[in-house]
Amino acid sequence: MEKFDLVVIGGGPGGYPAAVRASQLGLNVALVEADSLGGECTNYGCIPTKALLYPSGLAASLARLEFAKGYVEIDFEGLMDWVSGVVESVSGGVSSLLKGYGVEVLRGRARISAPGVVEVEGVGSIGYEKLIVATGTSPARIPGLEPDGDVVHDNRSILRLRRKPGRMLIVGGGYIGVEYATVMSRLGVEVTVVELMERLLPTMMRDFSRVVERRLRSEGVRILTGRKVESLERREGYAKARISGVGEEEFDTVLVAVGRKPNSRGLGLEGLGVKTDSHGYIVVNEGMETTSPGVYASGDVSGPPLLAHKAFLQGVVAAERAAGDSTAAYDARAVPAVVYTDPELATTGLTLDEAKKMGVDAAETRLPLAALARVALEGCRECFAKIVYERSTGAVLGFHVAAPHASEIIAEATLAIEMGATVEDLASTIHPHPSVSESVKEVAELALEKPIHYILKRR
């Protein structure tokens, strides 16, 4: 049996960066992947959805320009094939990366058969000194709404769709639901989103829900909040959904995007004394150490927020710990999150409510971005930026923005929080003009009550 210094279970964002860093630190590393390298993000999540959004967004942007003559028709099958190609190329990139770093990649389902031994289905057993569990999450199964890969889909099977939906039901108004609603409506699909809570994106700030609901509605998406899909009757090529307060309706395509569950079962973690919480997430400390010495967990399986970029850092921390650096720690002050709707929604750090709940004397300044040159030319009346800061020092605690390219500017605010920057620092930093990034500076100026491009009425 071959023995490795480190075995990483899972080749997604929580796993492959761990393997790369551990290899850089001189460890002999094996990585076990049961499906496809890159994990949920590369194969079924962040990457394919962005791939879907990009061409459909280009077409939608052009269509908004009244003077743009002509008509762009997106071939659905071609789009989906192209998305698959993008996914394959990104996944292939991960593969070459691991190869380049000399990481032994084993394909198959892993199981810890004894302490120090991982059995890889169809491959055999390998030994380990240290273990990183980065097995991620899977879509939660709702009884009656299980995907069949034909009419009813989850975020994985929907990517195999080649027939363009006519009437589509999206169950769940979280970020997956709204991103698919955005794509599909752009492609001319008649979309209905059903969300149990009283607003879309129920876990995010209300302003975001308002922006996304208004925009989706204007694109013709039907939004049913505070409602529930009570039953789903499957027929040949379509399904009958009973929606509370609405009645029975027929859809040819259903996407269920409701919740995730951790892949912590069936791995043999119990035998190692690795504890999980009541939801099944592996319990870890800031060093990504589990309750079993020498065993680490990173990424989704170690608990929410379920974000690839959070997993990247956790994987690196776990690898550094495994390589003996006891000072490595996941201690991010701000975790950015982006919803790639139109406009994009991005958030980092604390909201005013969260800061207040912690007893921080915080303040919030909100700036409408409709007049910001770059935003104006892309057209967004509901766009805004919000900054949350400590009143006495002006230290930045949070930043929340709805704007085109918000995903590209949120890292600046995250850096500001990590560095302990103040609103004055942001206001005094030159931002390129015209750019969406100016929203960071402008809202900071407004917080200081010294805006240049905004008329502040003297009280």
Binding site: Y281, E286, E289, T291, G303, A329, R333, K357, A395, T422
Partner: protein, 421 residues
């Protein structure tokens, strides 16, 4: 979000840098509630109960009874149950609230707010990732570092400075185990910890820094004994056990008012005498853990029975190891009463930063000439050790004679105070 969170030895205050784990009040695998007393820690000044900052399951205890841990060191890991609040608190390294013994189970509104404050201070620590990493490497708790950067931001240099300060006070690691020699085998090494260690440090400081001078005087306790007998039943009715000590407290405070330099402290840096117009009298109490000095605060405002009651309560707490920091802080003058054990004369070591300490010794019935006749009188020697930088012999003697006068004519103890002003 489920997490394992570390509980660190909180900053208990009063400049205490370490504590010895006395006893765990929770066990590994057991459930613990927020504010539930978790561990008893013996510090230099008192035994404190540290309440749990979280609700959850105790995953691991990281220190054993007898271990000395520094403030900020992790002592336990708790697996916190779900809930947004606990996740927010998870990385709190700031001093969590430590309630002193006996107060651990309090759930007043004020204390409930504290974990949030811990989280808040975490949010408000402005240190870039590279500085946080350095702090982890050097074992520095950022919550305790004063930032010198813009608006209190913590810089790399701040962390390095804090690390140097910690290193300056840290003790060297334990000696490696070596086989004892024959002679060593017949010796026993008793670690000087907690209260005993504090006493050792304070006594060294006192004897090395304070030039002691000593005087003593015979005091006739006969009248005071009578007075005490006459008050005894009344005291008992009020649940007060009346010893000589509260009378001595009153006498000392009255004498201090007349000789204020005795109720003072020398500020060596500024070469100034700080005269205190409040009278907090510490008294030496013998406990199984060692000598402690509980303090009765503002004696000048208290009646005899109240003083007696407080002395009894503090003595009881001292014996039970339940003294709170507040109980042992802020003495302005000290009394040590060894007479109840024995010895007719001795000279106590000044309890810094006080200027003086009196020693009360055994009361012995002696033949005394009074008006040419030999009478049996109850005599005890009261000695005074004083800081000769602050007061000189004549002043100190007058002070001691004042105490003698008050104790020998106890009616004066209850005469009006303004006679001395």
């Amino acid at each position: 979000m489920p997490r394992i969170v570390q509980v660190k030895l909180p900053d208990i205050g009063e400049g205490i840098a370490e504590g010895e784990i006395v006893e765990w009040l929770v066990e590994e695998g057991g459930e613990v509630k927020q504010f539930q007393p978790m561990v008893r820690v013996l510090t230099a000044k008192a035994t404190v109960e540290i309440p749990s900052p979280y609700t959850g399951r105790v995953a691991r205890l990281l220190a054993k009874p007898g271990d000395v841990v520094n403030v900020g060191d992790p002592i336990a890991e708790i697996e916190v149950s779900d809930g947004s609040e606990t996740t927010r608190v998870e990385e709190a390294t700031s001093p969590q609230q430590a309630t002193m013994s006996g107060g651990g189970a309090k759930t007043s509104k004020e204390e409930r707010v504290k974990p949030k404050q811990a989280a808040r201070s975490q949010v408000l620590i402005r240190a870039p990732p590279r500085v946080r990493k350095l702090a982890r490497k050097l074992g520095v708790d950022l919550a305790l570092v004063k930032g010198t950067g813009p608006k209190g931001a913590i810089t790399e240099e701040d962390v390095r400075r804090a690390a140097r300060e910690i290193a300056a006070v840290a003790r060297p690691a334990r000696e490696p185990v070596v086989e004892p020699t024959q002679q060593q085998a017949l010796e026993e090494r008793l670690p000087l910890r907690g209260v005993k260690r504090a006493m050792a440090q304070s006594m060294s400081l006192s004897k090395s820094r304070i030039p002691h001078a000593y005087i003593a005087e015979e005091v006739d306790f006969t009248e005071l004994s009578r007075l005490r007998e006459s008050l005894k039943s009344d005291a008992e009715e009020k649940g007060v056990k009346l010893t000589f000590l509260p009378f001595i407290f009153k006498a000392v405070v009255k004498a201090l008012k007349k000789y204020p330099l005795m109720n003072a402290e020398l500020d060596e840096d500024k070469m100034e005498i700080v005269v205190k117009h409040y009278y907090n009298i510490g008294f030496a109490a013998d406990t199984p853990q060692g000598l402690v000095v509980p303090v009765v605060k503002n004696v000048e405002k208290k009646g005899l029975f109240a003083i007696a009651r407080e002395i009894a309560e503090l003595t009881r707490k001292a014996r039970e190891g339940r003294l709170e920091l507040e109980d042992v802080s802020g003495a302005t003058f000290t009394i040590t009463n060894v007479g109840s054990i024995g010895t007719v004369i001795g000279f106590p070591v000044i309890y810094p930063p006080n200027v003086g300490i009196i020693g009360v010794h055994r009361i012995v019935e002696r033949p005394v000439y009074i008006g040419g006749e030999i009478k049996p009188r109850k005599i005890a020697i009261i000695s005074l050790s004083f800081d000769h930088r602050v007061v000189e012999g004549a002043y100190a003697t007058r002070f001691l004679m004042e105490i003698k006068k008050l104790l020998e004519n106890p009616a004066l103890l209850f005469a009006e105070d303004h006679e001395f002003q």
